[in-house]
Amino acid sequence: MSAPAVVIGAGVNELVAAHMLARSDRKVLVIAERRNSSTEIGWVPPRIVRDLELEKHGLAIHRHDPWVATPLPAGGSLELWRDMARSVEAIRRVNPRDAEKWPAFCERMARLARLFEKLYLAPPPDPLSIGFAFRVRALGRHGIEDLLRLLPMSVADLLDDWFESDSLKAVLGAAGIMHHHQGPRGGGTAFRLLHHCVGNPAGVFRPPASNIGRVLAQLPGVGVRGAAEVARINVREGRVAGVVLSSGEEIAASLVLSGADPRRTLLGLVDPGWFDPAFVRAVRNIRCRGVVARVTLTLDRAPGFATLVVAPSLDYLERAYDDAKYGQVSRRPYLEARSNERQVQVYMQYAPYALADGAWDETRRIALGDSVLQMLSEHVPGLRELVTERSVLSPPELEALEGWPEGQAHHAELALDQALWMRPIPGWARYRTPIKGLYLCGAATHPGGGVAGAPGYNCAREVLRDLRRRSKP
C-alpha cells in the first residue's frame, strides 16, 4: 500500500524520523549524505529510547562526573558534580555565599526545565491555546514569574542576580552562548542556559554524550543509500514527487523528510518558485551564523578531564564576543574541551563564519590550532607532549563536513525569535512545508539542536498524523 518515504540525511534526527516511520510500516529510504560522527552530545529523550528500543540495541549514555571542570585564576579548579552536596562543597571553597544559593538556583531551573521536557517532545505549542495556558499555570506562581522573566533576559543578568564567583558564573554563562552569535549580555541567552538543563537532573548544565548515532545507524528496518547526495526535490502540482540524486538518479517518493537546513531544503533543493515571496523572504531571513571552530586532538593517553571549560568570567566571554561581532576571531576565546578516551574535542568560540578581513585559509587554521593548544596546555600540564595528531575545522569546514549551514550547529540559531512556534519560521513551525508531503526534520525545527533526535521524532509523528488523517474516509 505504501509509496516509499525518502529521508534526506543520516544524522540522529533523520534516523529517528526514518525508524519511527518504518515502525508504522512505511517503506523508508535514507539518503546518507555524510558520515555520522561517532559521539553525539545531547539529551537522549527516554521516550525515543523506549519507542525505538535503543537500549536493546546497545545505547550507552555517558554522564560525566564531574560534569564540568574549570581552572580557577588563583590555581586549582572548580569541579561541579552530579551530586548536589558535592558541588556545594566545591563551590564553598570558591565562594560560600554562592554555595548556599546553589541548590535553590538548580531547583528553580530544573522546575522550568521539566516544563520544557514536555514541550520538546511535541510540536511547538500554540501560545494562545488554553492548553498551553494551563501548562504554564501549572508551574505555580514562582514558576510563572521565573519563566516570564527568564526567557527574554541575558544569562549574565540572571547569574548576576544569584552568584558572585566569576568562575561559577562563567561556566554556567558559557552554556548560554555555546554555538550562539551573542555574548552573555545578549537578551535571550538565559533561555539557552535553560535549554541545556532540559533532560538533566537538577544541578547539571551540560548535556551528556552518547553513541545514539551509531546505534541508530545499525538499527534494522530502513534502507540506506550511502555516499549519495540529493541534488533536487521534485514537486508536481504542489505535491512532493521524489528526489533526484547528484548522480542523476531519480527516486520517486510521496513523502520526503529533509534533515538538511531549511534554506538548502526549500530554496536550494526545491524550486523556490513554488513558494510565495513572503515565505521565501522568511526562509532567507533565518539566521544561522556559525561561531565555533573545532580542534580535535588525539593523545597518547586519556587527558585526565572529562569536560574542561576555559572561561574565567562573564566579561571574558563578552569580550570574546566583541571580537566576533565585528568579524574577528576572538583574541581570548572561550574553550570547551570534551574528552572521550584518548580523543579531545575542543570547541573554540568565537570563530565567526564570515570574517571581516579575508577568508578562512590554511594560515588562519594553523594559527587557531596553535593558540587553542597553547591555551589548553596552560591548564593541562604536559598536554602538548601527549598530542599525536591534531585537526582543525573552521566554520566553513564544519558546514561542509557536518552540514551545518554557515557552521551553525543548530542549523537555525537558537535565539528566542527562532524558538518554539517561531522555529524555523513562524507559521511553519510544525514540520510541514507549503509543499504537500515535504517535511523538515532537522535541527532547525523545534526544539533545535542539543536534544538528540527530538526534531526527527516530532516530525515523524506529525507525518503519521497527516497520513492517518488522509486515510480516513
Binding site: L128, A133, V136, I144, L148, P152, Q182, R185, R281
Partner: protein, 526 residues
C-alpha cells in the same frame, strides 16, 4: 480626625500629575507633593542660563496618550505641540541622510541612498503601523496577574488572549518576532542603508544598557514608534515652551478639577499603620494623613525608601532589588551664539528644524555600547539633537539659540564613579563628536550644561538616572513591571498605589502609567 484630603500623590512628575488630575476629576480631594521648586519631574523647562530656556531632561513629546490630551483638555491649559518634520543624519563621508514626515519627500531622500530601501520603506511603515495598533490597546490595560485565580485577572488574561487572536496569525507572529529580535537583525531584514538602519535602531536602545545587536531592542523601537499626536502615528513633536509646558498644562488641568499642588515639599516616607497607608511624613517632619497614597516615584524609591523593606513581603523586596535601572544616557544643553553649520548641509535651512541624529551606522552604535558595557562613557556616542529655539524663538534671546543633545551611552556605574572632572570630560567628548560634523560648534557655544546619570538621579530622584524609571526590557514589562503580582498599580500596602513610569507601560512622557493607575484606583473604589 477628618483629613482634608482623599488622596496624596507623591511626586509632581507628569505621571503623578496625570493621576492627580484623573482622581480630582472623579471628585477626590487630591494633594500633590513635589520635592522640587517646580512640578514636572523629568519634564521641566528651566532657564538654566539667563534668557536661555531648556527642556532640561526629556525633550520631545510623541507618546503622550491622545486620550489624556482629550480627557484633560490639555490644549486649553496651554499645551501646544509643534511638529518635528525631519531627521538629519550627517555621515562621516560628508554626505547625509534626511528623513521627512512628508511621504514623497522622504521617499526621494532615501532613494538617493538606495532605491530598494525606498521601496521597502512603505511596507515597513505599514508593518510598524499595524504593530503599533496591535500594541496600543495593551497600553491602557492594567496588567492581569498570570498566576492569580481572581476573576478579574482571569478575565484580563482572557481579554489579552482574545486580543492577540483577533490580530490574526500573521500579525501575531510578526509581533512575536518584533518582541524577541534585536533592532539590528530586525532592520537588516528590511534595509541596506547603514545610516537608515542605525537612525531607526537608535530609538531601540534609548534608555537601556543594551546595544542594537542585543535581542529585545527591536521591541523598544516599536515603543518609540507609537508616538501619535492628534492620531498621527510616527510623529514627534516639541512642546511650545519646552517639555515643562506639558507638565504645566497637566498641572493646570489638575488644579482646575480642584487638586492642590505643593512644591518644595519632599516626602520622607509613607505613614503605615496596621499594614495600611495612613498618610505621608514630609522631610521637615510634617505629617499629612489620608487613606490613599499614590507614589509617582520609581519602584526602588517607593518600596525601599518611602515604604521600607521591613513593611513588605520578601518576594517583592527581592523583585525590586533585582529590578534593573542602569541609567545609560546623559544630556548636554548648549546656549549658542549662532546656529551650528553642518558641513554635510550648510546653512540654516529646514534640516535644522527637526531632529539631528549622530548615528552613521549600526556598528557605530554597537561600539558606543561596547564602551558602556565595561563601565566607560562612549568615546563616540550616539547623539539625538534638537534646536528648540528654531521652533519656539522664545526659548532663547533674539539671534541666539538653545540646543538639546541627548547622549548615549553614559553608564551610571562609571568606572571610578562620576566626578566633576569626568562630567566635563564627558561633555567634551560629546562636543567633539558633534563638532566633527558642525565645525563652528565650539566657537558658537556660550554656555553648556552637562548632565550625567548621576546628576539625573541627584536632581530629580530617578534611581541610577534611568529615564524610564527602570529599563524597558522584555523582562521588566507588562506583568513584570515593576514586579510580578504587583503590576496592577497596587502594592502590598493597602491604600498605597504606584503611578510612575516604573509601572506598565513605562516611560517616554506618555502619561499612561498615571492614567491607568488613577483608573485602577477608582475601579478598586479605594
Amino acid at each position: 480626625m477628618p483629613t482634608p484630603y482623599d488622596a496624596i500623590v507623591i511626586g509632581g512628575g507628569h505621571n503623578g500629575l496625570v493621576a492627580a488630575a484623573y482622581l480630582a476629576r472623579a471628585g477626590k480631594r487630591v494633594l500633590v507633593l513635589e520635592r522640587r521648586e517646580r512640578v514636572g519631574g523629568a519634564a521641566v523647562s528651566e532657564q538654566v542660563f539667563p534668557g536661555f530656556t531648556f527642556s532640561v531632561f526629556s525633550y520631545v513629546v510623541s507618546l503622550l496618550r491622545p486620550e489624556i490630551i482629550r480627557d484633560l483638555d490639555l490644549p486649553r491649559h496651554g499645551l501646544q505641540i509643534l511638529p518635528l518634520e525631519s531627521t538629519l543624519t550627517p555621515l562621516p563621508n560628508g554626505d547625509y541622510l534626511a528623513q521627512w514626515s512628508d511621504h514623497d519627500q522622504n521617499r526621494c531622500s532615501i532613494a538617493r541612498h538606495s532605491a530598494r530601501d525606498a521601496e521597502a520603506y512603505d511596507e515597513f511603515g505599514r508593518l510598524m503601523h499595524q504593530m503599533a495598533r496591535a500594541v496600543k490597546p495593551i497600553l491602557g490595560m492594567a496588567p492581569p496577574d498570570p498566576a492569580s485565580l481572581h476573576p478579574r485577572d482571569l478575565l484580563g488574561l482572557a481579554r489579552l488572549g482574545s486580543h492577540f487572536r483577533s490580530l490574526g496569525t500573521e500579525q501575531f507572529h510578526a509581533l512575536c518576532k518584533l518582541i524577541t529580535m534585536s533592532a539590528a537583525d530586525f532592520l537588516d531584514q528590511w534595509f541596506e542603508t547603514e545610516a537608515l538602519k542605525a537612525t531607526k535602531a537608535a530609538s531601540g536602545i534609548i534608555g537601556t544598557l543594551l546595544g542594537p545587536r542585543s535581542p529585545g531592542t527591536a521591541f523598544v523601537l516599536l515603543h518609540h514608534y507609537m508616538g501619535e499626536i492628534d492620531g498621527v502615528y510616527r510623529a514627534w513633536g516639541f512642546a511650545k515652551g519646552g517639555n515643562g509646558s506639558v507638565s504645566e498644562a497637566i498641572a493646570g488641568a489638575a488644579r482646575s478639577f480642584g487638586a492642590q499642588i505643593r512644591t518644595e515639599a519632599p516626602v520622607a516616607r509613607v505613614l503605615i499603620e496596621n499594614g495600611r497607608a495612613a498618610g505621608v511624613v514630609l522631610e521637615r517632619g510634617e505629617e499629612i494623613r489620608t487613606k490613599l497614597v499614590v507614589s509617582g516615584a520609581d519602584p526602588r524609591r517607593t518600596f525601599m525608601q518611602l515604604v521600607g523593606a521591613e513593611h513588605l513581603p520578601e518576594d517583592i523586596v527581592q523583585a525590586i532589588r533585582r529590578f534593573k535601572f542602569r541609567g545609560s544616557s546623559g544630556k548636554v544643553n548648549l546656549a549658542l551664539g549662532e546656529l551650528p553649520n553642518f558641513s554635510c548641509w550648510p546653512g540654516s535651512g529646514p534640516q535644522l528644524r527637526g531632529a539631528i541624529s549622530i548615528s552613521p551606522s549600526i556598528e557605530y552604535l554597537e561600539r558606543a555600547y561596547d564602551d558602556a558595557k565595561y563601565g566607560e562613557f562612549s568615546r563616540r556616542p550616539y547623539l539625538d539633537i534638537l534646536i528648540p529655539s528654531l521652533l519656539d524663538p522664545a526659548m532663547a534671546p533674539p539671534g541666539r539659540h538653545v540646543m538639546s543633545i541627548f547622549v548615549q551611552y553614559a553608564p551610571y556605574h562609571l568606572n571610578g564613579g562620576w566626578t566633576e572632572a569626568r562630567r566635563e570630560a564627558f561633555g567634551d567628548t560629546v562636543i567633539d563628536a558633534l563638532a566633527e560634523y558642525a565645525p563652528n560648534l565650539k566657537s558658537a557655544i556660550l554656555h553648556r550644561q552637562v548632565i550625567t546619570p548621576a546628576d539625573i538621579e541627584h536632581s530629580i530622584g530617578l534611581s541610577e538616572g534611568n529615564i524610564f524609571q527602570g529599563e524597558l526590557t522584555l523582562q521588566q514589562m507588562f506583568f513584570l513591571r515593576p514586579a510580578a503580582a504587583w503590576a496592577r498599580y497596587q502594592t502590598p500596602i493597602r491604600g498605597l498605589y504606584q503611578c510612575g513610569a516604573g509601572t506598565h507601560p513605562g516611560g517616554g512622557v506618555m502619561g499612561a502609567s498615571g492614567r491607568n493607575a488613577a483608573l485602577a484606583i477608582l475601579r478598586d473604589g479605594a
